[in-house]
Amino acid sequence: MAAFILRRLGVLGVILFGSSFILYNLAAISGDPTADLKLSNDPNRDFLIASLTRELQLDVPPPARYFLWLKGILGIFIGQPDFGMSRDGSTVAHSLALAIPVTIRLVLAATIFAIVLGIAIGIITALRQYSRFDYSMTFVSFLMFSLPVFWVAVLLKEYLAISFNNFLQDPKVPLSFVIGIGLFTGIFWASIIGGTRKAFWMTFAIAGGSASALITFFSLTGWFLNPSLGPIVVGGLAVGIAYGVTQLSVGLINKAALKASLTMAAVTFVAYYPANWLFDKYPSALTIFILASLNIALAVFVALGFSKIDRGPIVRTAVLTAFISSGLLIVDKFMQTWKPYMETDAINYRPVPTVGQRSDLLGNEDWWISNLDVVTHLFLPTLALTLISFAGYIRYSRGTLLEVLNQDYIRTARAKGLTERTVIMRHAFRNTMIPLTTIMVVDFAGVIGGALITESVFGWSGMGTLFRQGLLGYDLNLLMGVFFITATLSVVANLIADLLYSALDPRIRVGSGA
């Protein structure tokens, strides 16, 4: 195993060396960084050219200069990588350090949403194969697949951001919207749950009716201007989450798991006011982290207390319940921040921005307000990226699950008399996740490299912007810095994917043939 990894790393090193050499020379022969200076009428033009030449070592021919650059990069092994200087005099390492978190923030949430949503819908479509839901989701996923991200972005800006902001001026939902949302929700849930015709219409009526009622209620009470969940709703949702998670992970028949989950839901309810007090008193990421850790630790204890045998799945269920339901507290806190956030001068009741990564006008506000600002800025790019990328996960997880469901071990599991839940969640779903996991890893690396367009549409200054800057200004060090990060990421992701695959699937052995 270790030998395999070492050999792979060696090969990867050679590959990275080759591709960076080619890219460096390709970029170097394509343009002269001093070209714009040579055309200028600046009196100290020659001095500027000379200093730029000295700084970027332009007097060294590109193939040799590449090795100077490589020498700096190789400093990574002694802990001092030197990415060189960019044209404007700052170090590339500094620019990268500023840009990488921005890009990761941009793609992280979108990737997670895309994965969760995509896999969930993909699995439902596979279980309801050839249903209307399946056909419509197939169409939707193909449509998403074919959408150019820059086009979607402009549409979202225009129709979602601007009209939502206009709507918030007078938050009354028109009747046609209420009916439309009700119909859509009803059809969506009814086609997922399925069953006989009677069950279909029952689900349709319940889901559609409650959605419409909820929207009307929100509209009448001005909830959109001052949203919050409150302890009762949080408690109710937490109980729902407890039941849902238990049903999906071990089944409601497992009383110990159900009791542990419900206890954690109750803990969330009880912790509502204390947690809010803490959030106000010590607003920081550390508080959230400590509370979350405490909560998870508590969940482990509770689960151990309720269970005697087969403790692993029960602990997992309780922890998952605790994690999701305590997430509600954070959501609720952000909702409470919504009103003060909208009242600040920088926002002035137009909360969904179309460009940028922060509101520059927003002063040194409360921790929650400035983070809500980050969230609202993330909203549109995340939505655009999620829409584009979740289609792939739908297709892939649907295909894989259908393949898995045809396997003999699924027939065996059914023949043993296992419940359908166990067959799907334990036997089929886990095997579906094996190829999906490897895809996810590679995909994430790819998304970071491909954030160029999203960044440029939404005016974020992340790695894509740096890359663009490097390309337009013939700024080799900057260009190569970005390339080095993305290429290393993609190479390492491929290696991790291979290792993960062999770790998850015992039939696959690493080291043979690779």
Partner: protein, 363 residues
């Protein structure tokens, strides 16, 4: 299209009852090629897409003057060219805009002006150029870029994958490391570098370069397919009969791998059109004075609120092309998949059950 029936053989023997009987009855006595063709023609979405893409191609390539091999000039049927500067339409547009589209679908009795294209069906741009002509030109560019990338990617990918899968060993290791090496460079980055530096050499040059980097996924797939196929009995049989390696690769293995290749080439092409438009959008692809759909969207996205047609039409063309190709790929995948069964309707099932009972009664 002479395919062997090997894949089917195993399933046809054992199954004679129920759904399988219905499915098998349909393919009795047909060659693999005929089966695939039948399945594909039955895929409704794929057929609609095929018609769409053919009509788009015919529309855009006949609308404008077209130079065949750079020599013969085929005149287009549309009255404007992208270079013409007709007068900008004033006055009769909503919201005091200029150059709005004249296309109309609403018949006269509903208060419209009847179905017709009018003078400028897609409107006019800032300086009055006919937007229909611009979109046609842009779609021509995007389509040809897509086809060139697809063709180059398919050729290189198939050859590299076939050679490394067939010969294995050292050849395989070297070729696959070379593939890894190309994969390391993210497509969008190499696209930007190439587009930025060579974009002014024309769209075809850009497509050629992008094609040189687009084959990696395909070559891995083909290699995997060749690795399994080369162990099959028919390859041994061919070898015993004295066939050369070249003959085995091209005559025996490649036809069996053609399904995988065609499907992933369609995916490659739909990815290619999105890549080209995206690159043109950020300014690293097709550059002015040439026209491309991505370029048009980039140029006019700011006028979306006032003159949305400048944004809608190029986007609609991108989406319809990419969507059609994806659906065609899906139809082909279903058609080539030997395990793929048509959904058997209730009626057919009942009919087959009655037939079986009748047969039993007759015995």
């Amino acid at each position: 299209m002479a395919f062997s029936l090997k894949k089917k053989a195993a399933t046809t023997e054992s199954t004679t009852s129920g759904e399988n009987a219905i499915a098998n009855k349909e393919i009795e006595g047909l060659s693999q090629g005929q089966i695939v063709r039948r399945r594909f023609f039955r895929h409704r979405a794929a057929m609609i897409s095929l018609v769409t893409i053919i009509s788009i191609t015919v529309l855009v390539f006949t609308a404008l003057d077209f130079k065949l091999f750079g020599v013969w000039k085929v005149p287009g049927w549309w009255k404007w060219t992208p270079e013409d500067l007709p007068e900008l339409r004033f006055g009769d547009c909503p919201n005091d805009t200029v150059g709005c589209p004249t296309i109309s679908f609403r018949p006269k009795f509903l208060g419209g002006s009847g179905f017709g294209l009018g003078d400028h069906p897609f409107g006019q741009d800032d300086i009055g150029r006919d937007f229909f002509a611009l979109v046609m030109k842009g779609t021509q560019r995007s389509l040809s870029v897509m086809i060139v990338i697809g063709a180059i990617g398919a050729t290189i990918g198939t050859v590299v994958g076939a050679i490394s899968g067939f010969y294995r060993g050292k050849v395989d290791a070297i070729l696959m490391r070379f593939t890894d090496f190309i994969i390391t460079i993210p497509a969008i980055i190499i696209g930007s570098v190439v587009g930025f530096h060579f974009g002014n050499l024309g769209a075809m040059f850009l497509a050629f370069y992008l094609g040189l980097f687009a084959w990696t996924g395909l070559s891995r797939l083909v290699r995997g397919e060749f690795l399994t196929l080369r162990e099959r009995e028919f390859v041994d049989a061919a070898r015993v009969a004295g066939a050369s390696n070249r003959r085995i690769i091209f005559k025996h293995i490649l036809p069996n791998a053609v399904g995988v290749i065609i499907v992933s080439v369609t995916l490659l092409m739909s990815g290619a059109i999105l890549l080209e438009t995206a690159l043109s959008y950020i300014g690293f692809g097709v550059i002015e004075p040439d026209v491309s759909l991505g370029l048009l969207i980039n140029k006019y996205q700011d006028s979306f609120t006032t003159r949305p047609w400048l944004f809608w039409y190029p986007g609609l063309f991108i989406i319809s092309i990419a969507l059609s190709i994806n659906f065609i790929g899906d139809g082909l995948r279903d058609a080539f998949d030997p395990r793929q069964r048509r959904r058997i309707s209730k009626k057919e099932r009942q009919e087959s059950a009655t037939a079986r009972k009748l047969a039993q009664a007759n015995d």
